[in-house]
């Protein structure tokens, strides 16, 4: 009798998994069709206005000697009036030449580049660094670039233009990879980003759903974030945290597909593993924090809430799938796996596997097609292996977030390794 009840529970879980996968499949088909065939919602980059806000550009850094020079040089080439902009690189207790590089830039451009040096007495990590920089930032608009990003000449102006819409609380640009051609991993990450930004983010923006602020190549209203108490230092994904904190209060996140900014992707699987585990841990912490406020908020419509919830659950789904594999194995050895289970489960799971946990193959294909990149897309079948990789590490991140929730322990930020060559790091003092 107990065995029978156990088998029934296992089968009910399978039905639940089929339901979850069907919902996500439909969601991504809608996104793909919308991005490919419907009218596109444009960002505000074409607005010309002489009344420009004062902008503070924050660049959090920890041991960034390989990248600091380039990001600062690129920002100094910006077409935004220098008397309306300040750059605040936040040196978070670096032990390499980061401090030296920042000080050298600061001496060359004292009115624009105002570095903040944090020592070991401060709490480490990107979030505390941002909070400290927010206290001294003078701009009404704050833009954030990670140190490995290469903002182009018009980037600051175009991002700032988004805030001309008084309902926009945050803006986000498109992330591109500068080291795509390095190896298989970077090529795969490029495809993942293409599906995520060119299709997913733009479709969500088109449909009036929740576009996501990604913590870099983006910005927010300083007073707004300060009124929310700054960034929550207990959460690793400060970007997703801010997104949901804003939308449940009726603010919009504007997505700028035209504002492409290049970043450096991990070149080793171990580095990627740490990065995705951190994302999963942070994203799931946001899930625990905002699921009920999202459901209860009066500022969002039903479809926005539904898609917001699906977005929150994104990093939980691979864990659900991992349990489903164990479930199906148990059913197999208990002799309880009938034909209907097999066929339905495996067809749906098969389709889902090629999601690579973020985008299904047709969504990535649509992004690549719109970008007119050609050869890299042939790597799509490798997403089968990427899915297994992501499932493993995202599940680990989910378990970590559960432990965080239960124990209330402090979270530590682990910086993503950089690969830029030394030739690109010479200090430019001009």
């Amino acid at each position: 009798m107990a065995l029978l009840a156990f088998i029934v529970i296992l089968k009910i879980y399978m039905l639940f998994v089929i339901f979850v996968m069907t919902v996500y499949t439909v969601r991504h088909i809608i996104f793909t069709m919308n991005r490919l065939l419907n009218e596109q919602k444009l960002y505000y980059q074409d607005i010309m206005d002489s009344d420009l806000p004062f902008v503070s550009v924050l660049v959090p850094m920890h041991n960034e000697e390989k990248t600091a020079n380039q990001v600062l040089s690129m920002l100094m080439l910006s077409d935004y009036p220098m008397d309306r902009m300040e750059i605040i690189p936040v040196n978070d207790n670096s032990s390499d030449r980061t401090k030296e590089i920042l000080d050298s830039y600061s001496s060359a451009h004292p009115t624009t580049i105002k570095p903040v040096h944090r020592d070991s007495s401060s709490k480490r990590g990107k979030v505390p660094a941002l909070n400290e920089a927010l206290e001294i930032a003078e701009g009404s608009i704050v833009l954030v670039f990670d140190s490995d990003y290469l903002p182009t000449k018009g980037m600051v102006r175009a991002l700032a233009m988004g805030f001309k819409n008084p309902r926009v609380g945050s803006v986000m640009g498109r992330v591109m990879l500068i080291n795509t051609g390095t190896n298989l991993l970077t090529r795969i990450l490029d495809l993942e980003r293409t599906g995520g930004y060119q299709v997913d983010q733009q479709a969500r923006y088109n449909l009036g759903l929740i576009a996501q602020y990604g913590g870099t190549v983006g910005g927010f209203r300083k007073d707004l974030v300060l009124s929310l108490g700054g960034f929550d230092e207990a959460v690793l994904a400060e970007d997703t945290d801010l997104t949901f904190n804003l939308v449940i209060r009726g603010w919009e996140v504007a997505y700028a597909n035209r504002l492409e900014c290049y970043e450096e992707a991990p070149e080793e699987w171990s580095v990627r593993a740490r990065q995705i585990t951190r994302w999963s841990r942070g994203h799931n912490m946001v899930l625990f924090k905002y699921l009920f406020p999202l459901i209860r908020t009066k500022y969002l419509k039903f479809w926005q809430k539904l898609d917001g919830a699906l977005l929150l659950f994104t990093y939980l789904v691979p864990f659900i799938f991992l349990i489903a594999i164990a479930d199906s194995l148990a059913l197999f050895f208990l002799g309880a796996m009938n034909l209907v289970n097999y066929v339905i489960i495996y067809i749906l799971v098969g389709i889902y596997v090629l999601f690579g946990s973020f985008s299904p193959f047709y969504q990535i294909g649509a992004g690549v097609y719109l970008d007119r990149t050609s050869y890299r897309v042939r790597l799509l079948p490798f997403f089968f292996l990427v899915f297994i990789f992501n499932m493993w590490h995202i599940s680990y991140g989910f378990i970590e977030s559960l432990i965080d929730l239960i124990s209330g322990r402090d979270v530590n930020w682990i910086k993503t390794q950089r690969y830029r060559t030394t030739e690109a790091t010479e200090v430019d003092e001009t």
Binding site: I29, T32, M33, R35, L36, L37, N38, E39, Q40, L42, R174, Q198, N257, R258, E260, W269, S270, A273, I325, S328, L329, F332, F333, L334, G335, L339, Y342, V343, Y346, I347, G350, I351, V353, L354, F361, Y362, G365, A366, V368, Y369, L370, D371, R372, T373, S374, Y375, V377, R378, L379, L380, P381, F382, F383, F384, L385, V386, I388, F389, W392, H393
Partner: protein, 258 residues
């Protein structure tokens, strides 16, 4: 040099396809479903015949390899029916030891370097280890035989053939490309799927007959239907690559206003 024209940026590109032509394309691309639906009894019959012919060469008890009917949703299909055997307890014990040794080795490797391929190997070895434990403890309680596996495999593959045109239609209809080529891609994928199903069918039955049921779980879970979606996406990605290249300069350009 003054720039006189500029190519439209990729950010807000979209395809222009009317509802009617999308519907027509959808109907045409789903025609192979009808073909598979009416032809699967014949396809499975010939798959069974070929499998029997190949396996006949390898097993002394080949006279027991038969092609029999099995009930499916609308029409009966054909499966290979044959006898398999259980190994000695010593074989299962040794297999159990080897499986766990390999599993522990792979675990040590992935704790240091969790590459996707190593994680997939770990996944296969985990299934193998669970199966080895089952067969070491209660081999005679294994709830399936080779014929049930044969039945399940063929029915799953037929279901996948029926699904392939749907999956590809969703992905192919919005692309700006010749409908005939899209149909060709769908048919080529189906033909590849049928051929690949046959090869795996022969291989799976050979492994089960030669090495016993202990490998059944890993064959189905690691190399079964999940693998089918890899080549579906593989063929799609090559086609997409070509279409993307062809359309690279077809988006027009604008003129500067000066």
């Amino acid at each position: 040099m003054i720039k006189e024209s500029i190519y439209y940026h990729r950010s807000y590109r979209k395809e222009s396809i009317s509802r009617n032509s999308a519907l027509i394309e959808l109907v045409v691309l789903l025609l192979p479903v009808v073909a598979v639906f009416f032809m699967y009894p014949y396809i499975t019959y010939y798959m069974g015949k070929i499998t029997r012919f190949v396996l006949y060469r390898y097993f002394s008890a080949a006279s027991t390899v038969q092609v029999i009917k099995s009930h499916f949703v609308f029409f009966d299909l054909y499966i290979v029916h044959m006898a398999a055997f259980y190994h000695t307890p010593m074989f299962y014990f040794v297999f159990f030891i080897v499986s766990f040794a390999l599993l522990i080795m792979s675990l040590i490797i992935i704790l240091n370097k969790a590459s996707p391929i190593m994680l997939y190997v770990f996944y296969i070895l985990s299934i193998n280890a669970i199966s080895a434990t089952f067969f070491a403890l209660v081999p005679l309680d294994f709830p399936y035989d080779i014929n049930l596996f044969s039945d399940l495999y063929i029915k799953t593959e037929v279901a996948i053939w029926l699904v392939i045109p749907f999956v590809l239609a969703i992905a192919l209809v919005p692309l700006r490309s010749n409908l005939f080529l899209k149909l060709l891609v769908t048919i080529a994928t189906l033909l590849y799927s049928i051929a690949f199903s046959l090869v795996r069918y022969i291989l799976f039955l050979y492994v089960l007959e030669r090495f016993s049921y202990v490998f059944m779980a890993s064959l189905f879970f690691a190399f079964g239907p999940l693998i089918d979606f890899i080549y579906i996406v593989g063929i799609y990605s090559y086609y997409l690559s070509a279409v993307s290249r062809k359309n690279i300069n077809s988006d027009g350009k604008g003129q500067w206003l000066f």
